[in-house]
């Protein structure tokens, strides 16, 4: 063990700081959860109470059932789940194929193409979103899920980068052996390398799912029918209609946060590897 801090006092101060910041980091979640179990009257009490008062009544889930059934969050939730799943699966598909080609298949100039993909990823969304909107309008895709799925399906510089690294790190001899057997490239990719790349594929999928679940700008631009709203858009439309209904709004926020927390807890290893993987060491 290397304790780098001299003296118990200093160590205690470090622990204290860490605990205090962790509490601050979690505080909005706790307040969101408590508020979601408060009845309307309890919201505007001074000083604010930390008691989730609805839990002590016979309708503890009142805010949740209003938001889920009457305010149609069940639909928003289904929409978000569908869009995020399709967008993430598509991204894994495209990035895996591209990453494999960049790492493994012969093509003159492929490093230049790869560099262009990476370079254009640094161009801010603000630059591309206006023509993207005009394109979608031209395709007749406004007010459908396609503009939320297709760009994420086809563009993924981060995922391509990650999977390229991963495929490059796998041993070459499997492919050589298979090629001698006369297996075609796609079969080699599908049967041998894709299964081996599973951890990286999960990272790319989960990160793409989280990003798409969180996306606000595109749904805001492309969706006009409330039946197609995703969760973030549904939450915001609720704010503008029911200004002071913080209990229900926070119930909606819990609903939209919960899937991401569950996914994160289940796949933490892959998410952290994915987020810190692209970074430099030291």
């Amino acid at each position: 063990m290397n304790r780098r801090v001299s003296g118990p006092g200093a160590l205690l101060a470090l622990y204290g700081f860490l605990v205090a910041y962790a509490a601050l980091s979690l505080m909005p979640f706790a307040w969101m959860l408590i508020t979601s179990f408060k009845e309307q009257a309890a919201l505007f009490q001074l000083p604010p109470s930390f008691r989730p008062s609805l839990l002590f009544t016979d309708t503890p889930m009142a805010n949740y059932s209003v938001i889920w059934n009457e305010r149609n969050f069940v639909t928003f939730f289904r929409n978000s789940a569908f869009v995020s799943f399709m967008a993430a699966i598509g991204q894994v598909f495209t990035c895996a194929l591209a990453g494999y080609a960049f790492a493994r298949l012969p093509l003159p100039g492929k490093n230049i193409i790869f560099a262009i993909i990476l370079a254009t990823a640094f161009v801010p969304t603000e630059v591309t979103i206006i023509p993207e909107f005009l394109l979608m309008r031209g395709f007749g895709w406004l007010d459908t899920f396609l503009p939320l799925i297709v760009p994420s399906f086809l563009v993924g510089a981060f995922g391509t980068f990650m999977l390229r690294e991963y495929f490059a790190s796998l041993p070459h001899d499997y492919a050589e052996a298979a090629r001698m057997d006369g297996a075609r490239e796609f079969r080699i990719f599908w049967r041998i390398y894709l299964p081996l790349a599973q951890p990286a594929l999960i990272s790319v999928f989960v990160i793409a799912f989280i990003n798409n679940w969180d996306e606000l700008l595109r749904p805001l631009l492309y969706l006009t029918s409330p039946d197609l709203y995703t969760v973030p858009l549904g939450l915001l439309s609720f704010v503008s209609q029911y200004e002071a209904a913080w209990g229900q709004l926070m119930a909606g926020s819990v609903i939209s946060t919960l899937p991401l927390i569950i996914i994160y807890v289940l796949t933490q290893r892959y998410v952290l590897a994915g987020f810190s993987g692209g970074g430099v060491k030291g």
Binding site: L18, L26, P28, Y100, T128, L216, M250, V280, G282
Partner: protein, 291 residues
């Protein structure tokens, strides 16, 4: 079929979806936006070529001046704030509970959860009269607490606070990965020499971490110019545009006023500023980053 074609066909087929995506959703829009930035085009009218008018208007109008100033103020709070905090947290965590999943997750959670949902929770916390924050301040004896989101002086800092809170865990994870590559014997040696905590931090941790710090600095700067979701959910750029930053202003011009040409010119100014910042960063890199 020539042999070369046969040889390269698999790679081309594998790359096809990515190349279509690159062309349709990246290269074409990047060029299209550039062309648009020289036009005056309200989406329902005919576009008319106006040369550099959009750019001149942006650089001279008081409104966009205010927006650029807001963007700079936001960046000046967000970049140093989030880096300093994540650096301190990463080194504290590295010194104490390095392998604690609980603390790492607690700090990382804001980064991966739904932005709109947590921003709305903050909106409720910032609420002037019934909000948790001002009531906590009152309990500490501070009665003249600001109206936060309703006050033009405090709305932008409030957006910055939420942004820092949300992103700090991400930067911390990146820095933690860097810290764990530092050889502990440096610290042992420094301790034998009698160097104290603060000195060890600035003389060993910071230099040996400089490559990770540089990477984090670049990401933080890029993100600081692109804040949109939090602004939209928290303040909608108000009150009186006091929290409107460049990314939000572009959205407003393009998709509320439908001034496509003007918004495209704003987007290119954003792009230019980012490129400039990155160049400046790389220029100063050799002064402080150890290879």
């Amino acid at each position: 079929m020539t042999p070369a074609w046969r040889r390269y066909a698999p790679a081309l087929i594998f790359l096809l979806p990515a190349l279509v995506g690159l062309a349709v959703f990246r290269l074409v829009p990047i060029l299209w936006s550039f062309v648009l930035s020289f036009y005056d085009w309200q989406i329902f009218d005919q576009p008319s070529f106006t040369g550099l008018d959009n750019y001149i208007h942006i650089l001279t109008s008081p409104v966009s001046g205010q927006v650029l100033r807001n963007t700079a103020v936001f960046a000046l709070i967000y970049v140093p704030g989030s880096i300093a905090l994540s650096l301190v947290l990463a080194s504290v965590l590295n010194n104490t509970l390095r392998s604690s999943t609980f603390f790492r997750s607690a700090l990382f959670l804001p980064y991966i959860t739904s932005t709109v949902a947590v921003t709305l929770a903050w909106k409720w916390i910032f609420s002037t009269r019934f909000g948790l924050l001002n009531n906590a301040l009152a309990a500490l004896g501070i009665d003249a607490a600001p109206a936060w989101l309703a006050d033009p002086t405090y709305a932008l800092p409030a957006v910055a606070i939420v942004s820092i809170w949300k992103d700090v865990g991400f930067y911390m994870i990146l820095l933690l990965a860097g810290l764990q590559t530092i050889d502990p014997t440096y610290y042992e040696a420094a301790r034998i020499d009698g160097a104290r905590v603060v000195r060890r931090f600035f003389r060993i941790t910071v230099p040996l971490l400089s490559r990770s710090l540089f990477f984090v600095l670049i990401i933080a700067m890029v993100r600081s110019t692109q804040t949109f979701e939090i602004t939209y959910a928290l303040t909608e750029g108000g009150p009186n545009r006091s929290s409107t930053t460049l990314a939000y202003f572009i959205y407003e011009n393009a998709f509320i006023h439908f001034q496509m040409g003007y918004a495209a010119a704003l987007a290119y100014i954003l792009c230019f500023l980012l490129g400039l910042l990155t160049l400046v960063n790389f220029y100063f890199r050799r002064r402080w980053v150890h290879e």
